[in-house]
Amino acid sequence: MYPTDFFYSKDHEWVKIEGDEAIIGITDFAQKQLGDVVYVELPPVGTELDVHQTIGVVESVKAVSDIYSPVAGRVIAVNENLNDSPEMLNSDPHGKGWIIRLKIKDKADTEKLMTATDYEKFLEGIEP
């Protein structure tokens, strides 16, 4: 279910490392908890993000939630498609529903994140 080449945060974001870049999105668990997503607020390209700094906001029919950056870096691209099709966050959270692409500052940031196996174990301990 959860791609094994991703890293995962306790706040239910995923990170995929490609060279010195990182793609970030929210997990399938997160989208299920949120329910139907109706709006995604994206940061401007060029924004410098620290670990755990707010990337943007996801609004669903139930709630408005911050998305945090699990790693530090500079935003080099945002998924503009989410402006018109926020439902991609529900239908394909680990693929077409990616949120931002970062130029990563320090790859060591991923050491504090979970692997897919760890994340699935972490989810078992959470009340759905």
């Binding site: 908890q33 709006y39 009340e127």
Partner: protein
């Protein structure tokens, strides 16, 4: 049920609600000469009197309100507003006083404002109040602006505001709009502020802690004195969101517990109407050290009477035209005076009693994540019903079929599938029992015939609406064709 058409759809050319009698005096054609007259406003609906009356009467019948229905909307304190308050506020002397009238002609109005400020000060233990903010969220913003002004005057501008995850949802945005970065404090397993987390987070960068007490779980922050001590020891200020004061009014004074700034919602605790019946009012109270930063004008009393003082160099400035929502303040004062100190205590006592009666009656039927005892509201979840595929939204919609306004849902976020119930003190035991029976019946239905709950409501004016499409593709105004 038949859908009520828009008034534009009823419109037909030439219809009108009244006809003036024929002129029986000579007509002076030049009387209105040169004025920008027009015969019609393009696109305005043309309808008969009976059509207007029926249209708006029918619309009003589709409305849920405190005057027709039990309204346990958690966190909103939807209490019944006594009609005597409306009567007082509708007195001509209030209704027709003009905000530009000179001070000497509105001494009575100024006295009302000053008296209300003093009474709110006595009720909350704060030294000075401004009545100007027009709503709770504006009160929060003004409160944070006062804190910023105070710290900057001290030469100690700080960057961060701490907010617990059980606080009201507007707090982070108020702090953010005031230019602060928000950091969240996690709740402990009791559902209150974790002192160790607060201790770690409370550094010299922190301007204030914004707490909601009792918090959105309805739980009283019983460590309030220790919390205040930690915040003050590092030079920060304690802000209290007083929206839940209905649980405490007359029994607890935030000012005695280390709170430096508080906002109140007159449209909650002090019984002035909400929403369409509003508007609101969000007075802010401060300790005397902060009083110099209150918005202008402030009302001062001297031997000559009441006057408005605009000369407050350290003030955060004007935050509202004129003097706030004056008639709302009149209603709140009428409420306080008609209840008196003993009556206000009873408000808090019965509000807490009612919430606990519901909590106790339903605690095995609906899941309670936090079992700590609560004050004026309780937060259940849909955990038991989810096993049958029934979620909090289904339960909320089904309640409509039982003549009850749905409770607040999916908030606070620390309770997944939350149903936040606040009955207030104005409900009788009979009404509470009707609600409890409905909730029990819905729980039985969820187990035995979940489809009934999942397709609710069945008896309302409109059935289940497509909230997702409405939010993704909102149609915000009527764009139909004007009938020519």
């Amino acid at each position: 049920m038949i859908r009520e058409p828009l008034i534009f759809e009823i419109s037909a050319r030439g219809k009108r609600a009244f006809v003036l009698p024929k002129l029986d005096v000579p007509e002076d054609k030049d009387l209105l000469k040169g004025l920008p007259l027009r015969d019609e406003i393009r696109g305005f609906p043309e309808v008969s009197e009976v059509e207007v009356v029926r249209h708006f009467t029918r619309l009003s019948q589709t409305n849920y309100c405190v005057d027709t229905t039990f309204y346990p909307l958690g966190s909103c304190t939807m209490k019944y507003s006594p009609k005597v308050n409306e009567k007082v506020a509708a007195m001509e002397s209030f209704l027709f006083s003009h905000p530009y009238a000179p001070e000497e002609l509105v001494q009575g109005n100024l006295e009302i404002l000053k008296t209300t400020e003093d009474m709110l000060g006595e009720i909350t233990g704060m030294d000075a109040f401004t009545l100007q903010p027009s709503a709770g969220a504006q009160g929060e913003l003004v409160g944070m602006m006062i804190i910023r002004a105070f710290l900057e005057k001290r030469g100690d501008a700080r960057q961060v505001v701490l907010i617990p995850d059980s606080a009201h949802g507007t707090n982070p945005s108020s702090a953010h709009i005031c230019g602060y970065r928000v950091e969240e404090i996690k709740s402990n397993e009791k559902g209150t502020i974790d002192l160790a987390s607060l201790d770690r987070a409370m550094t010299e960068r922190v301007a204030a802690l914004m707490i909601t007490n009792p918090n959105t779980l309805g739980i009283f922050e019983s460590d309030i004195l220790k919390i205040a001590e930690i915040v003050h020891a590092r030079g920060g200020l304690l802000y209290m969101d007083g929206a839940n004061l209905n649980a405490l009014v007359g029994r607890f004074r935030p000012g005695d517990m280390g709170v430096d700034v508080i906002h109140l919602n007159l449209h909650k605790t002090f019984s002035t109407p909400h929403g369409g019946g509003g508007p609101g009012a969000g007075p802010v109270g401060v300790k005397k050290e902060l009083a110099a930063h209150l918005p202008i004008p402030v009302i001062v009393k001297s031997e000559q009477g009441y006057a408005l003082n605009f000369d407050l160099p350290l003030s955060v400035g004007r935050v509202r035209s004129f003097f706030g929502n004056f008639l709302v303040i009149v209603k709140a004062l009428a409420y306080v005076l008609s209840l008196g100190p003993e009556g206000l205590k009873e408000v808090a006592d019965v509000a807490v009693l009612n919430a606990n009666y519901i909590r106790k009656s339903l605690e095995n039927v609906y899941h309670l994540k936090y079992t700590t005892s609560t004050l004026h509201e309780c937060v259940f979840s849909d955990k038991f019903q989810k096993e049958h595929g029934v979620q909090n939204i289904d339960i909320a919609k089904r309640l409509i079929d039982f003549g009850v306004h749905p409770p607040t849902m999916s908030f606070p976020l620390i309770v997944p599938g939350a149903l936040m119930i606040e009955p207030t003190e104005t409900e009788s035991k009979r009404d509470l029992d009707t609600f409890i029976e409905a909730m029990k019946k819905i729980a039985r239905e969820a187990a035995e015939m979940p489809a009934v709950v999942k397709t609710a409501p069945h008896t309302s004016y409109v059935r289940r609406l497509d909230e997702t499409t409405a939010a993704r593709n909102p149609i915000l105004r009527w764009e139909g064709k004007i009938k020519e």
